[in-house]
């Protein structure tokens, strides 16, 4: 089992579809604790990536990720643009020249991508951000790989950890981003960034597992 360049392309296409489907949902989540733009911004970014599919369809995984990164940086805006842009940029650096990667390599890629987000956003876990979904997902993936679980199972466990991490943001007090201005009133709302992070990782598990 491995993850091929075509798998990566199929994943990005699925993410674009899922984000478009969840555009209004993400806007709704962003309204009470943010500024009601997360769904629209992410949708604009992934639509723009779809516009680049023609020029990246025969490229290596690193080039695909870097193109996605630069497209998100240039089209998304807000905090999500630089954050997801950095996520894919780091992923691209780890996959330069590769046409396929193993699940072990994917764990390394995802860890580097998360490190990029942490560096750019200076956020830690428990601050009600996308880091709260991504961190447990990376941990679960690394653990599953270390335990020799199958690729399908590792991806599934990682996506489930992201989902739990996303749900865990509901009772959290926001300490980063615009939601932090609300103080106590940020409690009780699910973080939109953690939600989009879950959607993205869940899509990888579904697409690569052929679900």
């Amino acid at each position: 089992m491995s993850i091929s360049r075509d798998d990566i392309l199929a994943w990005l296409q699925d993410v674009a579809r899922i984000i478009a489907e969840n555009r209004d949902y993400l806007v709704q989540l962003d309204s009470p604790i943010g500024d009601a733009d997360h769904g629209a911004n992410m949708d604009r970014g992934f639509r723009a990536i779809m516009g680049k599919m023609g020029e990246i369809s025969d490229k290596d995984i690193g080039t695909i990720f870097k193109t996605a990164a630069m497209t998100l940086i240039a089209t998304v805006g807000g905090a999500s643009g630089p954050l997801y842009g950095t996520f894919f940029l780091q992923a691209g650096t780890k996959t330069a020249g590769k046409m396929e990667i193993s699940i072990e390599e994917w764990a390394v890629v995802l860890e580097a991508a998360l490190a990029g987000i942490v560096m750019r956003g200076k956020a830690e876990v428990n601050q009600k951000t996308m880091v709260d979904a991504l961190t447990p997902a990376v941990q679960a993936l690394k653990q599953a790989v270390a335990e020799g679980k199958s690729q399908a199972e590792a991806l599934e466990l990682s996506a489930e950890a992201a989902r739990q991490g996303m749900l865990a943001t509901i009772p959290m007090l926001a300490l980063k981003g615009r939601a932090s201005y609300l103080g106590e009133r940020s409690i009780g709302h699910q973080d939109p960034g953690a939600t989009s992070s879950y959607l993205i990782l869940n899509s990888a598990a579904k697409v690569w597992n052929g679900v």
Binding site: D35, A36, D37, G78, A79, G81
Partner: protein
Amino acid sequence: MKKLINQPEDVVVEELQGIAYAHGDLVKVHYNPNFIVRADAPVKGKVGVISGGGSGHEPMHGGFVGMGMLDAACPGAVFTSPTPDQMLEATKAVNGGAGVVHIVKNYTGDIMNFEMAAELARAEGIDVEAVITNDDVAVQDSLYTAGRRGVGITVIAEKISGAAAEQGRSLKEVADICRKVNAQGRSMGMALTSCTVPHAGKPTFDLPEDEMEIGIGIHGEPGRVRMKLKSADEVTAMLMEPIIGDLPYKSGDNVLLFVNGMGGTPLLELYVIYRKAYEIAEQHGLKVVRNLIGPYITSLEMAGTSITMLKVDDDLVKLWDAPVKTPGLRWGV
């Protein structure tokens, strides 16, 4: 949603087209990436001053491009930070060889995008100094938040920094005067209504008819506390006291007093607010030597106001009085 728009996704570009038709004598509009630039940019030997932010705050920032103020402004989508490619191209377009100051409001997205743009510009050999505005006293504890937001002082900082650059001051001097304005200025705002982001289609938050939100930011994000509506004088006091207490301003200080409209509040009410704010300032021994009253940093159609006060010295007053010729602010020319 009741708005005079065509398609939500076209509002920013159509606004830019309108600005290009209306103010072609002062500015040029560049598309893909989008930015508004002074018609005579780059001005050789002059420090460039640029800013940017989400759309929906007009006239800030695009309305402040022109002689004596900004050299360029980068508009993002409504309430969304612009992107590094816009800022990079704007930086290159205004670089007259003396470097470029980025004036950045303290919002997570704006900070990150401008940081990336500054890294890219420096990689191309342009000196960039970023100055972050964070004057909103409504955000109390910066340890537990993303820090104080950049609000009303940004308008004043853009005017004064632009004037300093026009005088031929160096990159460091212009950046320092901008930092000084931010350090000596404080703001606080309030809302009577929410506002509707075009692509969201409905109000960002619900605010009952008889309630108001004190400590609001400029993106329709809820503020510090919600309470029953009070009189203009009471509201003005609730905004002025935290401002005065924060710096702190002291008796004998000269100040510039800026009463801003959030977009949906008429000048009639802003002058009522100004009247009380002026009296409160005088009661504290503060001498209001300059003022600005009107909708300059707005939040779409939100009804409400913000008050900004800047402690000024002779240099700042001279820079404030210096000629400015932009679509949104014009005097002395």
